[in-house]
């Protein structure tokens, strides 16, 4: 085959409007092209190629057409003048020869862009063959009519527009963190070019979103005709660059890499209309192939006369010259491997991310081809956003048979990767975490947040099938929102934990596991493990040897995986000591340090922990104190912000409500469930929105209230069997108050928030029902809800007793029984021995008397 310079005349004249004639690739290739001296690896693979039958069984039209993309997606197909020296062919060797303005002059080699695939075979049509060029063919400096066939892209104006974009675009929404070291007031991409000049990496990443806000039409063209528009962009960028930095030496010319095409789709919604368009999809890399040397250009030598010729690979096929042009010997041409050109290529399988998948279906996968330096940029397991061109290629059943499998193979030629979780291991990256909410959705959420009872509403929307336990639900709700993240790194204290940890502890059968399951299902990044089944390794991370590559790979465990999410640990009490100990670091520092098998690292594990444990005797022992019942080390307990006791209350009203609730479960209609499901979606969005956009700060009054609360806690907490207060508890209170403010979408923490935090903290441990002296939770108080009156009566009795004693005058000691009888006689209600004893104890607390054996001494 000859060089494309001669192609226009060679091209077949008549062609269907939508036909898609690829120009054969140029025979010469740029010197920069990678030359694989060592082709021992490729030999085996390429061996059969020369023996492949000359494709002459078909007409060239059919053959070429077979490998061109399906064409019916082209909308307006008006063939226009084809010109090989036009900038369209920029990037091909021929353009280098003919000299693209400026770029070639500097001697910077061009590099082929296999990612754009058939760009060199761009759809350009000889105007002479088909007349009506309604599109205004523009006069170019070169004196040629230039427009890209099949598109409405006018090369000159496209180039000009893009140059304007590069020179003028200032991102109005730019944030510091994304562009470190960029002056936001200056044109953004000019600074990028400067960076290229300094760093020498000739790639210019262009955010399509920026382009869209700058020029909607240009953006549309880019999306629809990427393989024509991107080379134009390349050229534009290079012209500007070499204009500015004429002395800059780059490995090859700058290549523009667009990313973040707004047509970001999930894999499932890809359809035939997307073929040959620029798309951005997200997913997870599941497999990557070895590097494949792809032949770009085959080198043939005549065995008879040593005449050499080069043949471009046309979509993976070598058109072996059957006749030597020089000596006219047939079948004398032999392939010389080490003079052929190869480029790197890699096949990658991308699987759709679990979040995008409808329930009950298996994930879809898509094949990606990465070229040149994009090879080996991603590893299996990476979450990436891929920008590329979607392709479809027909499959030939058998080269000898004209039947074609009626199926196309699809793949994406990668232009740009953006790892979504790369930064997760390094630092806070709110950018990628932030979900974009539709405006109406935000309006709905804001509307919701204004409701006075939003807190109650949300908490009741949480796990509606689980009965009551309002406070626990509230606690979990606050956990879902989390506190505000504070960074004190510059003062040397590091990050403050914003996540709230909760321990549920209580009788079996109080639906602890159900709550955990619910939370796990609700949050996007939740993990569920059972204490019994997990080892320290499973929670943290482990190093394993990849069976294929023999490479050491760090596999992350549940805690790391739930970074920025919630890790639910069931059967916390059954977890063994060593496993539990890894939690210490996670629960306060929010990091995980790993030192094993030559890998030493610190991983972020900013996870909230929701743990469930049974009391030590599996049933709550009311005769024991809280601490005795839980029996977890202090060090760990203090790291939980809230420790909820879930006890099985026994009282009539409760039973009645429970019964009604359960019965309703059994006949509720489907529609109502649908409704509730909606609620769950709203709840999820509400939480996501609050987490990413609301960051409340403490107000003055709130701080004051917090201080008081803490001091109070210290006072009470000294009693036996209580979970005592540490500075950590103060931090907990702050977090809870912040979370509560978040629920209201408020940006200031008010006193109400602190009040609720205090209440919840107290409720959690049933401290209102705990005897501060003995530390025993009084279940009867708890369930009858009589605690307030009971306490009052107790106080009255104590006062009565005090009066009685005082009325007896100055006696240093009294007989116990005597006093009891007197009190009974005096009182108009029945006084039990217990009540009497309690009254005595209360007085003893006030240092009014002491009880020793059977005598009561006054002090």
């Amino acid at each position: 085959m000859s060089s494309p310079a001669s192609t226009p005349s060679r091209r077949r004249g008549k062609r269907g409007r939508s036909s898609n004639p690829p120009t054969p690739q140029d025979a010469r290739s740029p010197p920069s092209q990678k030359r694989r001296a060592d082709d021992s690896t490729s030999t085996g693979e390429l061996q059969p190629m020369p023996t492949s039958p000359p494709v002459g069984t078909q007409s060239p039209a059919a053959r070429e057409a077979l490998f061109s993309s399906p064409t019916q997606f082209r909308h307006s197909a008006i063939p226009i003048d084809f010109d090989i020296s036009s900038p369209l062919t920029y990037g091909t060797p021929s353009s280098r020869v003919e000299g693209t303005p400026r770029s070639g002059v500097r001697g910077t080699p061009v590099r082929q862009r296999p990612d754009l695939g058939s760009v060199r075979k761009a759809r350009q049509v000889d105007l002479h063959s088909e007349g009506p060029a309604e599109d205004v063919a523009t006069e170019q400096s070169l004196g040629q009519k230039l427009v890209i066939w099949g598109t409405d892209v006018n090369v000159a104006s496209c180039k000009e527009k893009f140059q304007r974009f590069l020179q003028r675009f200032i991102d109005p929404l730019a944030k510091e963190d994304e562009d470190i070291g960029l002056d936001l007031k200056e044109p953004r991409y000019m600074q990028r070019l400067e960076e290229i000049n300094m760093v020498g990496e000739p790639f210019l990443n262009v955010n399509c979103d920026h382009l869209r806000s700058f020029d909607e039409n240009l953006y549309r063209q880019l999306i629809c005709y990427p393989q024509e528009v991107i080379p134009t962009f390349d050229m534009a960028a290079n012209e500007i660059f070499f204009d500015r930095y004429p002395d800059s030496i780059l490995e090859h010319q700058i290549q523009v890499r667009p990313y973040n095409a707004l047509k970001t789709r999930n894999m499932r919604s890809l359809n035939p209309e997307d073929i040959d368009q620029l798309i951005t999809i997200s997913g997870m890399v599941i497999r990557s192939s070895q590097l494949i040397p792809e032949m770009q250009e085959a080198f043939f030598k005549c065995q008879v006369c040593a005449f050499t010729t080069r043949v471009e690979i046309d979509r993976g096929r070598i058109a072996e010259p059957s006749v030597c042009k020089n000596c006219n010997t047939t079948h004398s041409m032999a392939l010389i491997h080490n003079r052929s050109m190869f480029s790197d290529k890699q096949m990658i399988k991308l699987q759709e991310s679990p979040e995008d998948m409808p329930a009950g279906q298996t994930p879809h996968t898509v094949v990606l081809f990465a070229h040149n330096d994009l090879v080996d940029k991603v590893q299996p397991g990476d979450r990436v956003n891929v920008t590329g061109i979607y392709r479809a290629v027909p499959i030939r059943v058998n080269p000898r048979v004209s039947n074609v499998k009626s199926v196309y193979k699809t793949h994406i030629d990668v232009i740009h990767y953006r790892k979504t979780d790369a930064k997760r291991l390094h630092g806070v990256d709110e950018e990628t975490e932030q979900k974009i909410f539709a405006e109406e959705r935000v309006a709905i959420l804001k509307e919701l947040s204004k409701k006075a009872d939003i807190y109650e509403r949300l908490s009741s929307a949480l796990a509606p099938s689980i009965y009551e336990h309002e406070d626990i639900k509230k606690g979990i709700l606050l956990q879902l929102f989390g506190g505000s993240r504070k960074d004190f790194t510059h003062t040397g204290r590091g990050n403050f934990r914003a996540e709230i940890n909760i321990l549920l502890c209580g009788d079996p059968g109080t639906s602890k596991s159900q709550l955990l399951q619910y939370v796990y299902n609700l949050v996007p990044r939740g993990q569920y493990t059972s204490g019994k089944g997990s080892s320290a390794v499973g929670l943290t991370a482990y190093v394993m040897k990849d069976p294929e590559t023999r490479q050491l790979v760090l596999q992350t465990g549940a805690l790391v995986l739930s970074d920025n999410g919630i890790c639910c640990i069931d059967e916390f009490d059954k977890m063994n000591e060593s496993t539990r100990s890894v939690l210490h670091e996670v629960m306060e520092q929010q990091t995980l340090s790993i030192a094993k098998a030559g890998i030493i690292c610190q991983l972020n594990a900013r996870t909230s922990i929701l743990a469930a444990a049974n009391p030590i005797e599996s049933q709550w022992n009311p005769k024991k104190t809280t601490i005795e019942n839980i029996q977890l080390p202090h060090t760990l307990l203090s790291r939980f912000d809230l420790i909820f006791l879930m006890l099985d209350p026994r009282d009539e009203a409760y039973d009645r409500r429970l019964a009604r609730h359960l019965v309703s479960l059994y006949y509720q209609s489907e529609e109502k469930m649908e409704e509730e499901y909606m609620d769950m979606a709203v709840l999820r969005d509400y939480i996501a929105y609050a987490r990413s956009y609301v960051n409340p700060r403490l107000s003055e009054e709130a701080s004051q209230a917090l201080i008081e609360a803490y001091v109070d806690m210290r006072k009470i907490g000294s009693g036996r069997g209580m979970v005592s207060a540490y500075p950590r508890q103060l931090e907990s209170l702050i977090r809870l108050a912040e979370a509560h403010a978040k629920v209201r979408f408020a940006h200031k923490v008010e006193t109400v928030d602190v009040e609720e935090a205090k209440r919840l903290h107290r409720e959690a441990l049933k401290q209102s029902a705990t005897d501060p002296r003995t530390g025993i939770v009084d279940i009867s108080i708890l369930t009858t809800g009589m605690s307030a009156t009971a306490r009052k009566r107790k106080e009255e009795l104590a006062q009565a007793l005090r009066k009685l004693i005082q009325s007896k005058g100055k006696t240093p000691a009294l007989k116990y029984q005597q006093l009891f009888d007197d009190l009974r006689a005096q009182s108009d209600t029945a006084v039990t021995k217990e009540m009497f004893e309690e009254a005595l104890r209360a007085l003893a607390d006030d240092d009014f008397l002491t009880v020793t054996g059977k005598t009561v001494r006054l002090l």
Binding site: A62, A65, P363, N403, V404, T410, G509, Q517
Partner: protein, 645 residues
């Protein structure tokens, strides 16, 4: 019936006709579906369509209409194909339009070439499902579906094939079930070498297969793993190409598809070494992936679906159209409602008989039999956030140890339900079998596991087999998965980088000696009244004693009641509340929320089992009574054990 033969034997001619008439617009696709829908509505028309479940694939005519009852095991990526294409004859330059729908290969005449640049070309999308026969399908389902009278009317595509399945006795099938091999796969494999449509004596194939099947163990990979969820499954696996509304189908759905069978040998050649070396586009798949995604058509035929419907049940005794109505609003078709009401009228004698039958099967324990009925009609009817409602896992404790008791129970249940599987819970089994389906990224498919079962499959877990021993990691995972299945009715499929939850609806019955180590909703301790000297004989006589017609009634009973709707009136709600509060007052220990939960479940199924769709006071009391009896037994058992200690 020339017309019948036409649309059955050569559906392409019909499609071509419709296509030719309507060619410029895309209406033809709709019309094709309409046409076949109409055809299949005619009485008994569905019976004429040969079924892949019944007839081995090599007896079926390629490109004829077939039906297949299957479960979606895996979903492959969607594929783009040429919906319409044009061929051109280079000599005469005549252009012809063709349709690519329902085809794997874009065909063209010997002198023609496909013009891929044609403006007429339409690219469309279709989805491929990898389907396997419903796992654990009972033999009777097949027998009744393909009764001789039905198959006589069938247009036998191959004269040499006389349907022999219905002649094979049940025992033989049973025997084959027990052998952990894939006979069908193998003898198809054997024949695939030469004559796909050839007329080989079925007898010979069968003997060959039985000779060979000892060599293949279930775990080492046979020539091609057809990926059946259960070991020892047979029957064809199929690549089902769905053309419309594929989003509505899910993994593990049971489908009945009518479509065009494609066994073009070209499909097998396609992945041969030679072509893959030539076409570099091929290299994007690994060899393994190719094997899985385009297996030889003789082994895994393709069906191009014209009509597909989800099945609510696979019981051939019930009209399939029960599932027409989505909301179960009792708007059955006339015929169906007649059927239902007829059956409902004679419900109580059937129930009584069934109870008697099961009582005998459970060695004279009527309480356990009662619970077994409740268990068999239980189904997850809704999910409230994570909580599945309506599951009723029964743990039958007190089963005689190391006896064949469970096996016999399984045999009996097999006779009653359309799909079932008995899981031997031995240490060996737990450690070595694959319970959880996992994604094999190399081959890009979901490798099936025992727990990948269709809805309403009965899973009998035989814990009496369990000995002391060590579970390894796989074992622990398997037990956990089993536990999750029971508690949450979901299985977390392993996608190696993450897990994905697949809800399921499986009735689990656990037989154990003491309390099972697996969670269960309800434990019934077996109290045997009779101890037959020879269990084998006893059970056999029991099975032979029951008339086939009665057995069929049992089958209808169990399937039908599962689909009924149910509600509780406000009145009864109040009464239940009162009752609960009262009981709690007397003795808070006696009844907890969980107990109430269970009693409500029992009441639900008890009402349904009597054909009542609302809870009545009597049923509630009866449920309480049953529960009390059951608990008393457990208590008693505890005492006995305590004394022994």
């Amino acid at each position: 019936m020339p017309c019948v033969a036409d649309w059955l034997n050569n559906p392409f001619s019909i499609v071509q006709g419709i296509f030719a008439q309507n060619v410029p617009n895309s209406d033809w696709e709709k019309k094709v579906t309409e046409y076949f829908k109409e055809k299949l509505k005619e009485n008994n028309a569905t019976n004429w369509v040969p079924s892949l479940n019944d007839v081995p694939v090599h007896y079926l005519k390629p490109n004829s209409l077939v039906k297949f009852r299957c479960m979606v095991q895996d979903m492959f990526d969607p594929e783009f194909y040429m919906g319409v294409y044009e061929t051109v004859d280079p000599n005469t330059n005549t252009r012809v339009l063709h349709f690519g729908k329902y085809r794997d290969v874009a065909e063209c005449g010997p002198q023609q070439e496909i013009d891929l640049n044609s403006t007429q070309t339409v690219t469309s999308e279709r989805q491929t499902f990898y389907c396997v026969p419903v796992p654990g399908e009972s033999a009777w389902v097949k027998e009744i579906s393909f009764l001789p009278d039905a198959s006589q009317a069938r247009v036998s595509p191959s004269t040499s094939y006389t349907p022999s399945r219905h002649k094979r006795s049940y025992e033989e099938d049973e025997d084959m079930d027990l052998h952990p091999s894939k006979q069908k796969e193998q003898h198809i494999g054997n024949s695939s070498g030469g004559d796909i449509h050839g007329c080989v004596e079925p007898k010979r194939l069968e003997t060959e297969a039985s000779a060979g099947h000892h060599l293949i163990s279930p775990n080492c990979s046979p020539p091609l793993d057809l990926n059946f969820p259960l070991p020892g499954e047979k029957g064809p696996a199929c690549l089902v190409k769905v053309y419309e509304s594929w989003d509505s189908f899910k993994v593990n759905d049971v489908l009945e598809v009518y479509g065009i069978l494609s066994v073009d040998p070209v499909l097998s050649i396609f992945n041969s070494e030679e072509s893959s070396a030539l076409d570099p586009m091929e290299c994007m798949d690994t060899a393994e992936e190719q094997r899985v995604h385009s297996p030889p058509a003789s082994l895994v035929p393709r069906i191009h679906v014209i009509l597909a419907q989800k099945l609510q049940h696979i019981n051939p005794l019930l009209p399939a159209c029960l599932n027409e109505e989505e909301s179960k609003t009792c708007e059955y078709l006339n015929l169906t409602s007649l059927f239902v009401s007829n059956f409902m009228s004679e419900l109580s004698p059937v129930r009584a008989e069934l109870l008697g039958f099961l009582t005998h099967a459970l060695l004279g324990d009527s309480l356990a039999a009662e619970y077994l009925i409740l268990h068999l009609i239980s189904t997850v009817y809704a999910r409230r956030d994570v909580l599945p409602l309506g599951k009723f896992t029964v743990n039958l404790s007190g089963c005689p140890r190391n006896s064949v008791f469970t096996e016999h129970i399984y045999r009996i249940i097999q006779q009653l339900v359309p799909a079932s599987y008995c899981l031997q819970m031995t240490i060996e089994n737990m450690n070595h079998s694959r319970f959880i389906p996992h994604k094999d990224y190399a081959a890009n498919r979901l490798v099936s596991g025992v727990l990948q079962l269709a809805s309403n499959t009965s899973l009998i877990v035989d814990e009496t087999q369990l000995e002391q021993g060590q579970l390894d990691t796989t074992g622990v995972h398997n037990v956990t998965a089993l536990g999750n299945l029971i508690t949450w009715q979901k299985v977390d499929y392993d996608f190696s980088y993450h897990q994905m939850e697949f809800p399921c609806n499986i009735n689990v019955l656990i037989t154990s000696e003491g309390r099972s180590l697996l969670p269960s909703d309800c434990q019934v301790h077996l109290q045997t009244q009779v101890i037959p000297p020879n269990m084998e004989e006893y059970m056999n006589s029991l099975l032979t004693a029951v008339l086939p017609s009665v057995l069929n009634k049992f089958r209808i009973y169990l399937t039908l009641l599962r689909l009924l709707d149910y509600s509780i009136s406000d009145e009864v709600t109040k009464a239940v509340e009162e009752d609960f509060v009262e009981m709690r007052k007397n003795d808070p220990e006696s009844i907890t929320g969980d107990d109430l939960h269970r009693t409500l479940l029992v009441a639900r199924f008890l009402s349904l089992s009597a054909g009542q769709t609302t809870l009545s006071r009597e049923r509630w009391l009866r449920a309480k009574q049953l529960e009390a009896l059951r608990k008393a037994r457990l208590q008693q058992q505890k005492c006995v054990n305590g004394n022994e200690l």
